[in-house]
């Protein structure tokens, strides 16, 4: 089986340059590629386009990349919980394309699956529809949406094997599987890396064909945004 292992985050992201288009997995702070984000922050690159459901919080996740002004454009569905993101958006310092979350998920999925465009009802009659083709099917209106692809997809999984097969945990799966397929180069960091053959083929969420580089991350903080407990 083809071996995709690299040493660490620095090696994995070695060839990411300014002006690259990146996809970053995660929803809130759950399932984000912490090691790769830390490695990116050490690099002297800017003018990135980042496709990610949201942008972490002010002082964690992609929020740190925004603070450091590495990002030219965000393609996201949600700004809330990140004051710096909202500030840069409202001031016009940051270019932002806000799109419905399901449309984002489907555009990324389409990018990986060779579907250049599809129709969805989300956003009909709203400013999301501006400039987009609207078409009626069976009496209902839909927007045509294009696929999204990335130069690099940077994702986080729970377990992975050297062949690049991935298993996610809980709701940390979110956008990671679709992004894995939509990157020209897909980099996966995992909490536990095992030899090919140790994961049950029937339980794999992302087949290794989508992953070009994989490494076992370390020191996961897994910060919780809103810790809520039972009384």
């Amino acid at each position: 089986m083809i071996n995709k292992t690299v040493k660490d985050a620095d090696e994995a992201i070695r060839d990411i340059t300014s002006n690259s288009v990146l996809m970053l997995g995660g929803f809130g702070l759950s399932g984000i590629p912490e090691n790769c984000i830390t490695a990116l922050l050490k690099k002297d690159i800017s003018e990135l386009t980042c496709i990610s459901n949201n942008a972490g919080v002010d002082d964690f996740g992609i929020g740190l990349m925004l603070k450091k002004r590495m990002v030219k454009k965000m393609i996201s569905s949600y700004v809330g919980e990140n004051a710096e993101f909202e500030r840069q958006l409202l001031s016009g310092e940051l270019e932002v394309e806000l799109i419905p979350q399901g449309t984002l998920a489907e555009r990324v999925r389409a990018g990986g699956a060779g579907i250049p465009a599809f129709f969805t009802p989300a956003g009909v009659g709203t400013e999301v529809a501006d400039g987009k083709e609207i078409r009626e099917f069976d009496g209902k209106l839909y927007l045509m949406e294009r696929c999204l692809k990335a130069d690099f997809s940077i994702i986080k999984a729970w377990k992975g094997d050297t062949a690049g097969n991935l298993i996610f945990k809980g709701t940390a799966r979110n956008f990671n599987p679709m992004m894995a397929a939509a990157g020209k180069i897909t980099i996966a960091e995992v909490e536990e890396l095992v030899p090919a053959g140790e994961l049950d083929p029937n339980t794999i969420h992302t087949p290794g064909i989508y992953v070009q580089r994989i490494f076992q991350g370390k020191d996961y903080e897994k910060r919780i945004e809103q810790k809520t407990v039972r009384k």
């Binding site: 996201s76 569905s77 998920a105 979110n174 809103q226 407990v229 039972r230």
Partner: protein, 220 residues
């Protein structure tokens, strides 16, 4: 006037046995606390879970298990986990029976605005645009008026809208209202102690009042 918990409690009475339900952030999340135990329903979290359980105990908190509001949660027996693409496939495909979400404004033809105040505030639409464009049964939990007393039930939304002609029912701090297919808010129930006159005064959009309007009851 109802407080947030009472709005949630009233909405819970709309839930039917066997439903798959998506609860938005805020008051809608509280609805879960009032769904009667004898009803078998499944709560969806659009970040990839069917079968949201109660909040965890301190020792069971798991950063990899959150709801769409980023709160830590648990799973009930019979849950399933999936990707965001699968999750919104469920939503767009009409598999979710009931969607409950918050709003800044609702218009008399059922338009909803809840994601942006131009120049001031942008939360982003998150999953709301997909939900309101896809769901057949949408209940809105909201305050009837803004803090400065302006009606939020309008002829037309003034804010950028999230979806058109999609809201079926509104439960506000003052009333329960149905959005009529031909347009207009049909008053169904008054909050305890709130008069029809007050609701009239605080509803800018067309209000339809037929016969006696009962006061809400919270008994089952």
């Amino acid at each position: 006037m109802l407080n947030k918990d009472q709005i949630a409690q009233r909405i819970a009475k709309e839930v039917k046995n066997g439903q798959y339900i998506n609860l938005g952030i805020g008051i809608p999340t509280l609805v879960a606390n009032y769904i009667p135990d004898e009803l078998e329903v499944v709560l969806q979290s659009e970040n990839g879970l069917l079968g949201i359980g109660p909040f965890p105990t301190e020792e069971n908190v798991d950063a990899d298990l959150i709801n769409a509001g980023k709160q830590t949660i648990t799973m009930v027996k019979g849950s399933s986990l999936f990707s965001s693409a699968e999750s919104f496939g469920m939503i767009r495909g009409g598999h979710v029976h009931l969607t409950i979400l918050g709003a800044m404004e609702v218009s008399e033809n059922g338009d909803i605005a809840n994601w942006k105040i131009p120049g001031k505030m942008v939360k982003g639409m998150g999953g709301a645009m997909d939900l309101v464009a896809s769901a057949k049964n949408i209940i809105v939990a909201m305050q009837h008026c803004s803090r400065d007393g302006k009606s939020k039930l309008l002829k037309e939304c003034s804010l950028p809208i999230t979806g058109i002609k999609c809201v079926n029912k509104i439960v506000s701090d003052l009333a329960v209202l149905e959005v009529l297919p031909e347009g207009g808010f049909k008053l169904l129930e008054r909050a305890p102690g709130v008069s029809v006159e007050e609701i009239k005064k605080k509803t800018e959009g067309r209000l339809v009042i037929e016969g006696e309007i009962p006061e809400m009851s919270f008994g089952s």
